[in-house]
């Protein structure tokens, strides 16, 4: 664009070990706070749904909140909920194994989680074919459809985060032969562990929030 911009190429920046250490700490901190902030954001997303549920329930416009107490297919509900919980707990229990140094057990646990989440995802989508009410037939019906769509997103995030993390662990082990990703001080290994910690924390959040939403939509 300008000569001024071309000159930008000329200054080459170098770095010192301290600076790398600083960047690494900032990066780890970013993964930590990013994970927390993401939970905050997701809470507001789900809270919008919860608010809608109770708002329509208490308004009960046209006595059409939930005529005849229609309920979504509970068999699907239980399956999806159990699988989600399984995926989340695999991450949580897996992390304990990883911290004790057992990478392959962690990897196995996460892969189980991935499969569970993908299966849950499939069920959550397939459930649309089994819903026994018209989407616009009641307030409950509408919020249920909204819940299903949001849950597709949630489970997708669960599957994606689990899968990318475990895939990264395989890649790291292959790429840095001899580096123990569970203990090493290598920046990539530290970043990996920070990511695992943030992920696990998020999975705990998913376990809690899906329990709440499951109870609201299938049990209440």
């Amino acid at each position: 664009m300008s000569d001024a911009f071309k000159a930008a190429d000329k200054i080459r920046i170098s770095d010192t070990p301290e600076e790398r250490e600083f960047e690494l700490r900032a990066h780890i901190g970013a993964i930590w706070s990013g994970g927390r902030l993401f939970i905050g954001m997701y809470t507001f997303l789900l809270a919008s749904l919860v608010f809608s549920y109770f708002y329509l329930r208490s308004s009960n416009n046209g006595i059409l909140w939930r005529p005849n107490h229609v309920t979504a297919p509970t068999a699907y509900g239980w399956t999806i909920y159990t699988l989600t919980l399984l995926a989340a707990s695999m991450a949580i229990f897996g992390q304990a194994r990883l911290r004790r140094g057992n990478v392959s057990e962690w990897q196995a646990a996460i892969w189980v989680g991935v499969v569970a989440a993908l299966f849950a995802l499939f069920m959550q989508i397939w459930e649309f074919t089994a819903v026994p009410f018209y989407p616009g037939s009641s307030g409950y019906a509408s919020t249920f459809i909204g819940y299903s769509v949001m849950n597709i997103l949630t489970i997708f995030i669960v599957a994606y985060w689990l899968e990318t993390t475990v895939a990264r662990s395989h890649w790291l082990v292959k790429e840095f032969r001899g580096v123990e990703i569970q203990f090493s001080k290598h920046p990539s290994a530290q970043s990996f562990r920070a990511n695992v910690a943030s992920m696990t924390y998020f999975m705990g959040f998913v376990a809690l929030s899906s329990t709440l939403l499951f109870a609201m939509f299938y049990l209440l």
Binding site: I13, Y55, S138, M150, E175
Partner: protein, 653 residues
């Protein structure tokens, strides 16, 4: 990387997140750029439309209605995905599935770098400048159309129906623009420089926010092609439910924009928390950065509510749910509540960054420390928190439980206290100051002038008895134009005049700048002040006709509006002239600012600082004899910018 067996920080090739050696990019036409993004968007659009029609044809209610909202939604959705795929936003998310770590930032060179998925926050900042100006000028043209129609109460240029659609499109485009107008361009560009960081925490998310923001432009613009939407920018149900497919563009457009807002805020918040240079304690963080982190909190936490509200609306439109359909167990109030629960924090998303800019600029031109810096920072956080508790003041007249009104009247009046503090911080800085009336400073002073009117009219509006008489009319219209345009947009232009010399290495022409300022300031007030009176005399918003006795005031306002529109031509001329046609090299620190962003080399190298600076004090020690050194830049003795600058400018006192 394959050779590194040793586990240590000294790995031969460090991972991207700590590396400072950008890769060379492929600059060829065959790589990904805005052209491939457009192609991807186009193909996605076609595919989505076809798919929607295919699905829709098996549902009689769609096939018989002649309106397939599902096809519109899928077309727009696939368009956005295709656009993101085409630009390369999804390359890394896809590579991650295979376990790949992020590759280093690519350093593109030449002008084509502005047309790529560029991770450099400085390039993204400039891309955002262009992006928001496109939004702004599109919305501005629509405003001219509105004022043309309102020249006369009975002679019409547009039909009533077209008119409301123009108003709606104008309002929505402008609100979308305003939620990113400072955070996107100046936030992305300057936050890392101001906190002494070499990079953003999540450069891919930062670039993602930009390209979703641009995609949002196409989505909301598509509303016009689908026959527009009649609800105004607030999208109220039940009109929302009854409207045609243009409403889908509105709902989906806001959903897309909300994703852009969330991602932008997420990256900035995390960066500010973690990437502050050593010594950059919270009490030394520039006030602009404080405003950005307060805004980022609102962007990240309020925008998801808009996403959800949009999703529910889209389900109503396409899957026949009844979230907002009162007769089917839903509630139109649900939309109103969700929308304003987002909407009022959004209002402060549109205010705080402006205050940040002003707080940053006036110490430079008064040569005084920012008065009561801590109160400014605390005020911003206070406003951000409180803004979640006032939303129902938009619903006073909607038929909510009257007993709720005193509560929200109280919270709304409470929020004007921290807002007032922020205002007074500026006044305290201006008090007995010797002011240098440069163009950026004039814009800042205009912000105070305009916001005084805008903010005080807000306090009146929060008063329920007053609200009864003026709600839904031109008084409200005037109120928020005074706060948003008079506050935020003036601050944005002030910020551009102030920082462009650093961003492009070229100063804006002062003479044209003064012309721009005085015409914009004068005609802004001439356009919008009469609207307070028009409102008090009872003219409702969004209606193309009005009482005959209001014609003179409306004509006056319209003519002023045309000149106001023309004032931006002066800005464009100035931009073209001083940046491209007859560029003049800017001095390294044209305004003698102590801000950290001015202490790096110009042009700014790819990773900003030759050494990560060690910060030694806050950047507001103007005119202070024996002020502490600003920072240690690691390439010489600590920089005492203040004493040098102060000696040069400080008149004898």
């Amino acid at each position: 990387m394959t050779t590194s067996v040793e586990a240590g920080v000294e790995a031969p090739k460090p991972p991207a997140f700590i590396d400072i050696k950008p890769r060379r990019g492929q600059n060829g036409w065959l790589s990904q750029h805005v052209g491939t993004a457009a192609l991807g968007g186009f193909l996605g659009y076609i595919l989505g439309h076809w798919l929607g029609n295919f699905i829709g044809s098996s549902y009689p209610y769609i096939a018989n209605s002649g309106q397939n909202s599902l096809a519109v939604l899928l077309a727009l959705l696939f368009m956005v995905v295709g656009w993101l795929l085409g630009i390369g936003a999804l390359n890394h998310p896809i590579a991650k599935i295979l376990g790949r770590e992020a590759k280093g930032e690519v350093e593109y060179t030449g002008w084509t770098r502005y047309f790529r998925y560029n991770l450099d926050h400085k390039v993204v900042g400039i891309q955002y400048v262009v992006g928001v100006l496109i939004f702004f000028f599109t919305g501005g043209l629509l405003a001219m159309a509105i004022r043309t129609e309102l020249l006369n109460p009975t002679v019409h240029v547009f039909s009533a129906d077209t008119y409301i659609k123009i108003v709606s499109e104008h309002g929505t485009i402008m609100m979308m623009m305003a939620s990113s107008v400072v955070v996107g361009p100046l936030g992305n560009y300057f936050v890392p420089l101001m906190i002494g960081s070499r990079r953003m925490a999540f450069p891919r998310i930062e670039a993602f926010s930009l390209w979703t923001f641009i995609a949002g432009y196409f989505v909301i613009f598509s509303a016009l092609a689908y026959g527009g939407f009649p609800t105004g920018w607030t999208g109220y149900a039940p009109l929302q439910t009854q409207a045609g497919p243009g409403m889908v563009s509105y709902l989906f457009g806001f959903a897309v924009i909300s994703v852009g807002m969330m991602t932008a805020g997420f990256n900035l918040a995390v960066t500010i928390i973690n990437y502050r240079a050593p010594g950059m304690t919270w009490s030394r963080v520039p006030v602009f950065v404080w405003s950005i982190i307060a805004t980022a909190a609102l962007l990240t936490l309020a925008s998801p509510v808009l996403t959800a509200a949009g999703l529910f609306g889209l389900l109503d439109k396409t899957a026949q749910t009844s979230f907002y359909v009162t007769e089917h167990g839903g509630s139109s109030y649900l939309w109103q509540n969700l929308f304003w629960f987002f909407g009022h924090p959004e209002v402060y998303i549109m205010a705080l960054p402006g205050f940040g800019i002003v707080g940053e600029i006036i110490p430079v031109f008064t040569r005084k420390p920012l008065f009561a810096y801590r109160i400014a920072a605390a005020g911003m956080i206070g406003v951000a928190l409180l803004s979640f508790f006032v939303w129902q003041h938009h619903l006073f007249q909607s038929g909510i439980d009257p007993d709720m009104r005193p509560l929200f009247m109280l919270t709304t009046e409470l929020i004007s206290i921290p807002t007032g503090f922020i205002f007074l911080v500026g006044m305290g800085t201006l008090y007995r100051a010797k002011i240098r009336y440069e163009v950026p400073m004039l814009f800042c002073m205009a912000v105070y002038f305009n916001f005084l009117i805008g903010g005080i009219s807000g306090v009146f509006l929060s008063d329920v008895p007053v609200n009864v008489t003026v709600h839904g009319g031109f008084f409200v219209l005037s109120h928020f134009h005074y706060t948003i345009m008079g506050g935020l947009i003036f601050a944005f232009f002030g910020g551009l005049y102030f920082w462009l010399p650093k961003m492009t290495g070229r100063t804006m022409n002062k003479k044209l700048g003064l012309w721009h300022f005085w015409t914009m300031f004068g005609f802004f007030n001439l356009t919008f002040f009469p609207m307070f009176i028009i409102g008090l005399l009872g003219q409702p918003r969004r209606v193309f006709s009005y009482a005959r006795n209001l014609q003179t005031l409306n004509e006056f306002s319209s003519i002023a509006a045309f000149f106001l529109g023309a004032s931006f031509l002066i800005f464009v001329a100035n931009l073209m002239w001083s940046q491209f046609i007859a560029p003049e090299k800017a001095p390294a620190n044209p305004w003698d600012s102590l801000g950290l962003e001015w202490q790096t080399a110009t042009p700014i190298p790819h990773y900003n600082f030759e050494r990560i600076p060690v910060i030694m004090t806050d950047p507001y020690h103007y005119s202070e004899v024996g002020a502490p050194a600003l920072a240690d830049f690691g390439n010489g003795p600590p920089v005492h910018a203040s004493s040098a600058v102060a000696a040069a400018i400080e008149p004898e006192q």
